[in-house]
Symmetry: C2
Subunit: 429 residues, 2 copies
């Protein structure tokens, strides 16, 4: 049964707090198994990759680790041209939006004559993990690869498992359209280890991004430090804030688009109209029957879905900020007026004609966004995830003389004599 | 014995690779103990904090969890006014440099009439961990707190343990100067748990930053997800690139300023002149005898120090980028000419009059920087660590009609029918 909460009821606050702290993920304890796999790949390289792929993907990749240009050409041939065009269209929109995110270098001289600066450089090489099977989404390839290319990453190495030798051709096409430089037919913890430490065939990368199952997530955590990693995303979620001036069928469709992702996904409606909430709930039940993935969506809706009734849309603001949703739709009369009050959200979709799904594919913004309330402290994937900043400092003798007394006083106060000496020794000239 | 490497020798590459992969940290296995402490604080709140503080810090903090304004006033009175002034001087320089890092919102309409945007908001509340005892550095309080204040964080809650009831008054003064809003007399994993989950006295925060020992690092890793965390810093390091036109004593002083931090710190000199390398090595030995922390610095230098001889300063560039040092000094004739070739470094100090120590205290840039080669994929602490980005999308009926075909094609190709319906349902009007 979908959860129903009413702000006007006396026990709202404890029930809302409990709802917020619901865990939607079972964390498999796979750390030990992953540790063994990572150690084995470090020790045996390609041979290890071939062994695990035989075992887990039931495929022999001896001398076929890397996907060939011919295979990519073939993938284009077997793909629906309309979908290939849609991928190209999406790539253009993602690339032009992300181009605006490139940070600008700063170099200046302050009043004391000290030169300061911040300089941005691209990460040299990035590994991109792409899941196999049903979760092998070409749109996710674009969303992870395009920002890296826009950032200036020179080498983008993708891994994607081919269970029973089967690959989604659209994933290869998306990789090619995005500008991926190398693709390897491997997955799981072994692929993450190969990207982090390198093998005979695969040169190591500096950072690994992309979604994956519990084994992939555990492997990313374990290699973190040796390489950088992106956030570890949890199940997806949408919060729709809608007044009664909406078509309940449209809102129900949006809630179900989220729910069909997987049984741990979460769809929440906040509305100020009880009758509208009921109408949406009915529309959800009606539409569920039409969906090929209706069983998954039903479980998600029953286990984690929620209808929250509020006094007014304004009264919803603190709840919206506490939920800190990955996706937030504002289907209200004046969404731009509500926008400045929203503090925590991964992405905001304004008005009735901006269903969240547009952001999944072709809006231009990224669909890799902070889940599980982490929008309180983190951001979606962007060009910034593929660059790093170096700070720059330059003093001449005069500037050193001006700054020395404070530096020496602080070094002394912290008991770090060699620190003080490194400054004072330059003054005795 | 300090490591000596020579680029002109045949076995340089394997020796340099081995040097790069040297581990400088023993990772204590404290995960289980920390897990128990975190669970206990979640269950018992303040009572748990009081119990662990009695046990680990040998102090009774019942009804004294929070540091009072009177204690802060007293800290000012017991501090050297020159050091207080130095802290104020440092705060001003840090604040004005970091003010330039504030990201700018972006909102625009593209050629298709789609409105897009990126909006930055400050993290609402941040916890700052400050170690007790000898590693209780007032400069680190400034470096962690000032960027948060500049970012617009409203609530900045600091924790600092007082072993045997003793606190460094300069840490309280630095916190006050930086604009910290609350200070609690607690430390260890229990303090991290209190910040993440809250207790009767301490409201939970959204992100925790600041250095700490193995217990603090493990606790931060465990609460990550519930709150954001900063990077887990390893031992500090400096790479000095110097030609023969330098005073060996100055360079030796810089190497030792790093080495005195702790026995796991690392100081590396790269030079193109064997005689200069010898002169620096001699100066190091001479200066070591003068240092109060000479024993620590000696161990660091002997265990992890290195003198690397190169053919030419230009030939050093690939090595510099592979070392990816936290601190990089370019003490060469034309450091600005070398600068564009350097890709991986946390902070770069240009010329003979910019010792790294200036950046530790009063340069204005941050001294919290990526260690252990992580400058290949990450950046030093900045205002960006205290803000997060929300992406914004707004379509009208015309824009939806223009983008719909590609979105529907991709949804269908990915087998996500409800995604397609969420778009198509809005077109039938």
């Amino acid at each position: 049964m979908v959860t129903r909460l009413d702000q006007r009821e006396g026990n709202f606050e404890p029930r809302f707090a409990a709802f917020l702290s619901t865990k939607r993920e079972v964390s498999d304890d796979v750390d030990r198994a992953v540790r063994d796999i990572v150690a084995d790949i470090r020790a045996r390289g390609d041979a290890g990759l071939i062994g695990y792929t035989r075992r887990f993907d039931r495929a022999d990749i001896t001398s076929r680790l890397r996907i060939t240009p011919e295979e990519i050409a073939q993938a284009y041939e077997t793909s629906d041209p309309a979908v290939v065009d849609a991928l190209r269209f999406a790539r253009e929109r993602i690339a032009s939006h992300h181009a605006r995110q490139k940070p600008v270098d700063d170099r200046y001289t302050d009043a004391a004559g000290v030169e300061l600066g911040s300089r941005w450089t691209a990460v040299e090489s990035v590994g991109l993990y792409v899941p196999g099977g049903t979760a092998s989404y070409p749109s996710s390839v674009l969303m992870n690869a395009v920002p890296a290319v826009v950032a200036g990453v020179e080498r983008l190495a993708m891994v994607v498992p081919a269970p029973d030798g089967v690959l989604n051709p659209l994933v290869l096409v998306a990789a090619d359209i995005a500008g991926v430089s190398e693709i390897y037919r491997i997955g799981g913890a072994q692929a993450v280890a190969a990207l982090a430490y390198g093998t005979e065939t695969i040169a190591p990368v500096a950072k690994i991004v992309g979604p994956g199952n519990a084994y992939v997530a555990a492997a990313k955590r374990q290699v973190f430090g040796t390489v950088g990693i992106d956030m570890i995303a949890g199940p997806s979620e949408v919060l729709v804030v809608a007044d009664a001036q909406n078509n309940p069928d449209w809102i129900a469709a949006d809630l179900l688009a989220q729910a069909e992702h997987d049984a741990s996904a979460q769809s929440i409606l906040i509305t100020d109209d009880a009758g509208f909430a009921d109408a949406v709930a009915e529309a959800v039940e009606r539409q569920l029957k039409l969906l090929p993935r209706g069983e998954i969506a039903s479980r998600s809706w029953a286990d984690f879905g929620a209808l929250i009734l509020v006094d007014s849309i304004d009264a919803a603001v603190p709840l919206i900020n506490r939920i800190a949703a990955e996706h937030l739709e504002l289907a209200v009369a004046d969404p731009d007026a509500l926008l400045p009050k929203i503090r925590n959200a991964g992405a905001i979709f304004l008005g009735a004609y901006t269903p969240e799904v547009i952001g999944d594919y072709v809006g231009g913004s990224n669909h890799v966004l902070p889940t599980a309330r982490s929008a309180r402290f983190s951001s979606g994937l962007s060009v910034l995830d593929f660059v790093k900043r170096t700070s720059i400092l330059k003093l001449g003798p005069d500037q050193l003389r001006a700054l020395a007394p404070a530096a020496i006083a602080l070094a002394k106060a912290e008991g770090l004599d060699a620190h003080g000496r490194s400054v004072s020794i330059r003054l005795n000239v």
